[in-house]
Subunit: 254 residues, 6 copies
């Protein structure tokens, strides 16, 4: 497999292997949340809200540091066939837990908790429609929501005028090997037949926050891993540009 | 209090007491569900999906009849301050249960279960943003989603070409007495200071399906009840017109 | 359907359409509770206790106001066939939640929370035997239990000697249209074949606290609704007389 | 401590150490259950129902044997201060589990499962008022309810006319050492200060089914254990007589 | 059945009716817990840890007394066929609850809570491999773990140098009637066919803490009960010697 | 940082950066399970059992394929301070879910499900003592248990004599950057101060099954990632040798 052959491959939706899907971020979608973004990666749509509250959980009280935490969920009919609600089942599933924790860690990686002060940002990422890549869209959108919540808090003087709680930006993308070809930003049909599936979370400066690669079919070798990491960093760099552009605009509900 | 005095009262958002808020119904919002509608009553936004599946719960099997059931939920930051997720708490709250049951009964009232055959329609109403009237918006939007799911099933020949499972349409609206004045379609700030609060579910033909009136402050008398019922039937008649208009258009995702 | 024809109809248990079943209230049934009543509406038997405690939930502390809350449940074999215990299932069902909330709202409607002071009355209504109308019997009996708990608290000087926390009395009754005839106080067999079913909660002065009407079969029109409301107010007036008579007697366990 | 000294001790309620409290059994209290009994041991009141159903749990199917199982619960205000409902807490407590299992084992000890055939008897014991000895009253009353359910099933021909599923009767009583004196049938105030507390379940023929002795204060020696066992067998013999007398009467609701 | 005949009976594993299985206690097995013991009764292996913490539950605060509590659990494949995890099922079963409570009561019977001061000892007994007698092994091993935790606390000066919180030792053993013969320390295959099964908890001084006898098959008479009690006291006396010997050694991890 | 400087660093327990802790695998530890291993990575001890059962979950029935699934848990006092039991809390935590899923995926990566036939292997990994690396020890030990369960099944003819369900072996190790130095097999104190923490699961042939890297402190760059991957593959190669050696011995309980 060469760069050349990769570029000749055309995906079901017409993309080249290293193309992102159409990404859009509707900032300030929620009229209630301190920060929010409705993000789309193609047909995947995730509503991300950032709720800012004064104070931190009891075990952190007095530390002078803030806290960022996240929850992820999917509407029952976000998917092609309906899934039972976790609230009805009375328990959170393993996948939901895993993704919620990933989002929280990813956002905390770019926050200076001292700069945030004893305040909490609660991120909620609710998948309204799913077509692969919901966790990566969630992280990418949640960063925008969090950035707006921090600006809101600065406006309210809940954090200092000179405090810089955001030490970098963060975005995430999926990559995978599908039919032998490394591909960027897998749609559901691609994801479900990928041999190897990897989610990469990286900062705006191009450093890794999380690398999670899984052999769904055959185990993968070092060369394949390297190809996927290259592809992913290209994707997160593009997402970083989109985040910057969106945050540069005046906020709709500000 | 006379009709005249009522009409002179202007509400916070500029409406007359008997005005609905701006109502919009985005049909076919979901690309996965057999029927769907994103409905807005002012700032209240509810995503309604109708999932059609062959077969019925075991206890109905062999009856020749179908089943319609509904679940209602709210995103954690749909409201002005964040509410904990019911899935995280591990149990469904009383209010959620109550509204889910109301939506289910309301929709079943206009379905001929024999006409539906042994098929199930699962309605999901998820409140994306709340500003009062979420249950009435949910019922009104769910009817549109259900109607589309039935047409989808007819197209797939899961129900007979001549079967008419829908025997009427259904819509719902809230009414209440606020500061002594009966008002239609209460926004959250009105609802929270209403002395009496009533939700009325009515069919397109103007018959009652549900009447739920509650004295939040002082108990109410028969004359007040009558005024609220009049107001509500006016509201559901307007909603019926909007539903008809939306369903007359070609479906987006059809 | 005329008044005349209604009166000629004889129900399975020999009642006229506007007859209550035999109502009995055994006040002070429990030797432990501050107030209690074992109420029967025919074969429906509900044990209502009112537990008075000093203090209020944390979120009300310092408000100078009291709190009244209620829980409803059914013994597993209160009904014709056994139902699994909700404790064993590990979750409260929607119907139970709904009725508990209704009872709480109904009782709060006749309590001046300032007069109650920072005290809590916890109502428990446990259905020992069910034959329709369990929620209406529960509300009617719970009022008696609550009145006794308040008198107990006055005796203990937990509330002022001149405080009048009870601003009215409250009772409830079911009405419904069965085989085309509006009927009062439905027994289970009537309830299960009613086209329309309504529960009305009204004060001793004849004002409405709750009106909950549901079309079980065909939707109902305004004329039917009016007939049901008339019938219900007659029923709650009779129940008010029975409550007064019982509370006028010396308390058994006082 | 001698027999003589024991007999001179007078308990708070006037009983001698070896006296039972007033025992009453109201057979057929429930109009729905196949067998039922409202049993009182003094102020302790337990409603016992026996629900007979055809068939057995799947794991016993085809064995030709029946099944008897039991659940015990307490109303929230059965006790002097209110306990939260287990259904609301979402889990059954250890004490409830333990007593439910004890009741089930005790009843199964006197049933010939082959004689019962592939039928299930579900016992429910709900404590309406508690003053010590609720588990022993429950077992004693449940036997009466079960006996009636079996007769009901014989009448319905669900079990053979000659089948004798009941191979003995069963009753239970508490005993304990209070202030150095062995006493029968402890009331709550006695139970709470007993040094040793024992529940004994015995058959009508005087054989042990369960012996559960616990040192609440100081451990006990063999001589004390023997004294308690003697006292208990006297108590269960008296209860056996009461059960026989009640079952000899014509059944109220038969 | 005579003493002579009993002694001639040989059990599946070669033991005489009054023989214990091979008992071993590996003290200080855990490197983290303040006290611990891996105890074996034949193939039954239970890991017992005692966690010592300063402070007591809120309801005991200020009493000057300590608290001892216990939890028991079984690994899913401790048994011959796998059992689902209680954590996965989301609820603790009745048997687990019952045994946890028994262990806690047994240990508290030999602790002077004043001597312990306001400190808590949390016992955990986890069955790694089960072959009958898990609860009796758990109690016997937990005593050793608790004794070590108390010595640890004395070393840390969390309890006074002269305080004697342990007023006695405690051990437990099962006995039962198998094929007509009273036997000591039943292995699983014996336990599952025992007519009568009894667990006896006794102190080092030979006093009873708990006696729990259950007729699994036919009810038992007084003579059988006496034979079982004799056998059990012999067993607990032997276990007391083993505990003493183990505690007399220098502690591995001390 | 050079290779040279790395090798001069000495860790708290005397290891070089690229040293594993002492690894031991006690095969056949459980007398009940079809395969089992008690594995130690230094002070971390995990009991791994593999339960083999005929049949597969209903959704796989008829596929001709087998299933492998895993559950991970920790004893409450496996850690330095006690954690509440998940069974008592009534819910599985996110970390537990995540690790259970990881173990399951890792083992499935080396199993040919067709070769396994319609049989299920349930893996249980219970941490008896924790000192970092519990998930990697669990995977490494579970492979041994699974291999033995497969041989057991071959002996029982539940799988074909020539079937080769194991297509490779699998082992796992943690790596991390501690104080600027990449280190292998982190103990708890190292793990808790690592800037970057990575778990790598690899096959005996040296292919990746899972790569999970997380920036705990500062994000990491590509060069650091490469160093960690090199170190990890060295570690899994050593573990593979240990697994081979253990499996080459005659099985203790076979």
């Amino acid at each position: 497999m060469t760069e050349a052959s990769e570029n000749q491959i055309v995906r079901a939706d017409g993309r080249a292997p290293d193309d992102l899907r159409q990404v859009s971020i509707e900032r300030g979608w929620s009229e209630h949340a301190e920060g929010s973004a409705l993000i789309s990666f193609g047909r995947t749509k995730v509503l991300c809200t950032a709720s800012f509250t004064n104070g931190v959980p009891r075990w952190m009280s007095g530390s002078g540091k803030g806290w960022v935490t996240a929850e992820y969920a999917m509407l029952p009919r976000a998917t092609n066939t309906r899934n039972d609600r976790e609230a009805v089942k009375g328990r959170i599933g393993g996948r939901t837990h895993e993704i919620s924790r990933l989002i929280g860690r990813s956002l905390r990686a770019v926050v200076d908790m001292k700069g945030l002060g004893e305040n909490t940002i609660q991120i909620d990422c609710d998948v309204l429609q799913a077509d692969g890549g919901t966790r990566t869209a969630a992280i990418t959108g949640a960063y925008v929501a969090m950035a707006d919540a921090i600006e809101w808090a600065r406006g309210k003087k809940f954090i200092g005028q000179k405090a810089q709680p955001l030490i970098d930006s963060v975005a995430a993308i999926s990559v995978g090997i599908v039919a032998g070809t490394p591909m960027l930003d897998l749609a559901y049909t691609e994801d479900s037949r990928a041999e190897t599936d990897m989610n990469v979370v990286a900062t705006g400066r191009g450093l890794f926050v999380e690398v999670q690669g899984t052999a769904e079919g055959a185990p993968f070798d070092r060369r394949e891993l390297d190809a996927l990491l290259d592809l992913a960093l290209g994707g997160t760099a593009s997402l970083t540009e989109i985040q910057k552009a969106v945050l540069a605009e005046a906020r709709a509900n500000a």
